[in-house]
């Protein structure tokens, strides 16, 4: 069928609309299925509606509503059976799912064959792989109705779905019935399966449920965004799948599932942060950065000893000539060193950046000794690795946690940033009453104060000052603030 023809026919339009609806609904609902580790249950439910379809067909005279009702009832019975076995019989959870759905599916297949042999117009293939191009108007209305219902349910009951998916036990203690939400989700899932049956078929519904959702999970860290992204990918996959069907004259369901898988593969490789390519590039970049930073740091060290030269650098770093030349060129391009004839010098900017590395190294050493109780002798190698990993943010946090130490465990000075508060706590005289100012160096300093029991806008009185501590009084409580920390705390009188 030509594309032109397809979209000119009511059948084609119906197919397109149904595919968009199914893609959207399955994408959104699938997020909860994936996050609840219920992918197999989704697959099971999709297969197990088959006997319900036959009952609806035989008893209800092939009406859309009869088939719908039969399928949903079969879906719920399956969900209940699976749960019952999991709770009452000593069978493994996934085995219980497999046993129930294969049994239901088999009964359905046998029954359809029998009914079909007796002359009824019931095509097994349409249920298994869909028949999106054979949709009637009433099929389409049903699909639209179900989609609206499912999406509305997700929006209205979002917080119940979120809570029971994230922490079912906590949800239970909050008075949310986890069981009710579970069965409601199973009901929605049965609805989605029935609505998708015509578009993709029962065997591939699970692909529309879990593939877009898994793709979305690689792209975001927030459930709300995940729902939107997954729904969007579901729509794209079904529309593109339908176009592929038209071009290559193939079956719609599998074309949609394959398209969804392609989106998934794209995300696996190219997702920012969670993608494999990102991870690979990040590793490579890190390796190169470590070489670069090591070169910079050793340049500073040799500069401080007035013995900065190519050969000395080469010996200290253990790089081959080309690697060292490459890194020195990079340093020069970034204005961190200057190179004349046989002369090598570090620029002020170079000193600044190298000092940052020294700061990371010494802070980490101090952290390992003070917080992890490691021996001063065993920390150097650890710090050599970590100085390249520590972000400025993390350094600020560690520094605050250690109360802004001035010396590392080997007695070497830790370079600090030159922040000076307008009025520091350590500058206050004994008996001064003051309060911690709103405006502080950073949030880590605020957290450190919080750990000590000093909230902002709490007023305190300076009681005593020693070499190491400043003692203050808040309400009736006496607190000792290390002087190194007090130097950084901004106060108002």
């Amino acid at each position: 069928m030509e594309l032109f023809d397809l979209f000119n026919y009511a059948l084609g339009i119906r197919a397109l609309i149904a595919s968009i609806l199914v893609g959207l609904m399955c994408g959104v609902l699938g997020c909860f299925i994936v996050l609840r580790n219920m992918s197999l249950v989704g697959d099971a439910l999709a297969h197990a509606v088959l006997p319900g379809v036959v009952v609806g067909f035989v008893v209800g005279g092939a009406g859309v509503m009869a088939i719908f009702t039969g399928a949903v009832v079969a879906g719920l019975i399956t969900a209940a059976l699976i749960t019952w076995i999991q709770h009452n019989v000593k069978t493994k959870n996934d085995a219980a799912i497999g046993i129930v759905f294969t049994a239901m599916f088999s009964i359905g297949v046998m029954w359809i064959s029998k009914v079909a042999r007796e002359g009824a117009h019931l095509d097994l293939d349409h249920f298994l792989f869909g028949n999106v191009l054979g949709l009637s108007d009433s099929d389409l209305y049903l699909t639209a109705g179900i989609t609206v219902y499912v999406l509305l349910s997700v929006v209205l009951f979002y917080r119940y779905l979120f809570a029971t998916t994230f922490q079912p036990v906590i949800a239970e203690t909050m008075g949310i019935s986890v069981k009710t939400i579970h069965y409601y989700l199973m009901l929605l899932l049965s609805f989605a399966v029935v609505a998708s049956m015509q578009a993709v078929g029962v065997i591939l519904v699970v692909a529309m449920l879990i593939t877009p959702a898994s793709t979305a999970l690689l792209l975001t860290n927030r459930l709300k965004y995940m729902l939107v992204i997954s729904g969007g990918i579901g729509v794209l996959a079904s529309v593109i799948g339908l176009i592929i069907t038209d071009f290559y004259n193939t079956t719609p369901g599998p074309a949609m599932a394959v398209t969804a898988t392609l989106f998934y593969l794209l995300a696996v490789f190219f997702a920012p942060q969670k993608g494999l390519l990102f991870k690979f590039l990040y590793k490579r970049k890190t390796r190169k950065r470590i070489q670069f930073e090591d070169t910079l740091k050793q340049t500073l060290k040799l500069h401080e000893r007035s013995s900065l030269s190519f050969l000395n650098l080469k010996e200290r770093l253990g790089f081959n000539t080309n690697t060292l030349k490459y890194n020195l060129n990079l340093l020069r391009q970034r204005g961190l060193i200057s190179r004349g004839k046989n002369v090598l010098a570090i620029t002020p900017e170079g000193i600044k950046q190298a000092t940052r590395l020294v700061r990371a190294h010494r802070l980490w050493e101090t952290y390992l000794v003070q917080e992890m109780s490691m021996d001063a002798g065993q920390i150097h190698d650890e710090a050599e690795k970590f100085e390249h990993v520590l972000t400025d943010e993390l350094m600020d946090e560690i520094e605050a946690n250690l109360s802004y130490p001035k010396l590392d465990p080997h007695g070497a000075p830790i370079p600090q940033n030159d922040y000076q508060p307008e009025k520091s706590l350590s500058s206050l005289a004994i008996n001064t009453v003051a309060e911690v100012a709103e405006n502080q160096l950073n949030n880590y300093l605020v957290t450190r104060l919080w750990q000590l029991g000093i909230g902002h806008d709490e007023s305190f009185k300076v009681m005593n000052k020693t070499e190491d501590f400043i003692e203050i009084q808040i309400d009736d409580e006496h607190l000792k603030v290390p002087v190194t920390l007090a130097d950084k705390v901004n106060v108002e009188i």
Binding site: F162, N221, R222, W450
Partner: protein, 245 residues
């Protein structure tokens, strides 16, 4: 009236008895350490109090009423290991959960809820982390998120299962301070705890458990070598490391 009153409670899993015939009255406005060896039934006791598991025999009353009536008066902080840290949820998402019990079905969370949540975040010193995914936090920060949520729930009874696992010592001490503060506001707090060396500093009451109730009451009276030996039976070597006199 007791905050929690337990009468003849027995619980078993798969025919294996975990708790036997517990009678206990938890006084309101006290900070309890719940102690006992592995498998003593500490977590099971919590779950029975919360009405999360079926009990064989016995009865649990909360503020003199059935658990169902008093659900919203209790808040549970589970072990860190029971949480899916990869879940796509932010700190704010999690803390806002503490407002769910105040909402009728279909009622939306509003600005007031958000303000309460923000205040709890500030109280715990993590307001700057509100938009972080929970897996990106340190152990201490993660525990603070759950305590912030508990504060939002404005409950009377706090049940905390090993809140200090994977938490740095500074944060641990700060959390204990907050618990003592809550206690002075009249809250009842039960904490499952493993480190016997700090019991005297942390808790003014203890519950010693080993499938049956060994002893409970004021820390000075109950936390004695004799009682601890009875609770820990074959695991006496643990005690040598503690600061017991």
């Amino acid at each position: 009236m007791s905050a929690i009153s337990i009468k003849g409670l027995s619980v078993s899993y798969d025919r294996k008895t975990v708790l036997t015939n517990i009678y206990m009255d938890v006084a309101p406005g006290e900070l309890y350490g719940v102690l006992g060896p592995n498998g003593a039934g500490k977590s099971t006791l919590f779950k029975a109090i919360l009405g999360l598991i079926p009990v064989n025999t016995g009865q649990v009353l909360i503020n003199g009423q059935s658990i169902e009536n008093q659900r919203k008066k209790m808040v549970y902080i589970p072990q860190k290991g029971e949480v899916d840290w990869q879940f796509p949820a932010t700190v704010m998402d999690v803390v806002m959960m503490g407002r769910y019990p105040f909402k009728r079905i279909l009622q939306r969370l509003n600005e007031e809820d958000e303000n309460i949540a923000m205040q709890a975040l500030r109280d715990m010193g993590i307001d700057h982390l509100r938009d972080r995914q929970i897996g990106e936090l340190s152990g201490g920060q993660q525990q603070r998120v759950f305590i912030a949520r508990a504060l939002c729930q404005q409950a009377d009874i706090f049940l905390m299962d090993e809140p200090f696992v994977g938490v740095d010592i500074k944060t641990e001490q700060k959390i204990i301070e907050i618990l003592k503060q809550l206690r002075s506001e009249g809250k009842t707090i039960l904490v499952i705890h493993h480190d016997l060396s700090k019991v005297q500093d942390y808790f003014n009451k203890v519950i010693l458990l080993n499938q049956w109730l060994v002893a409970y009451g004021d820390t000075e009276e109950v936390f004695t070598e004799e009682n601890i030996n009875r609770a820990y039976r074959g695991q006496l070597n643990i005690l040598h490391k503690t600061s017991l006199h």
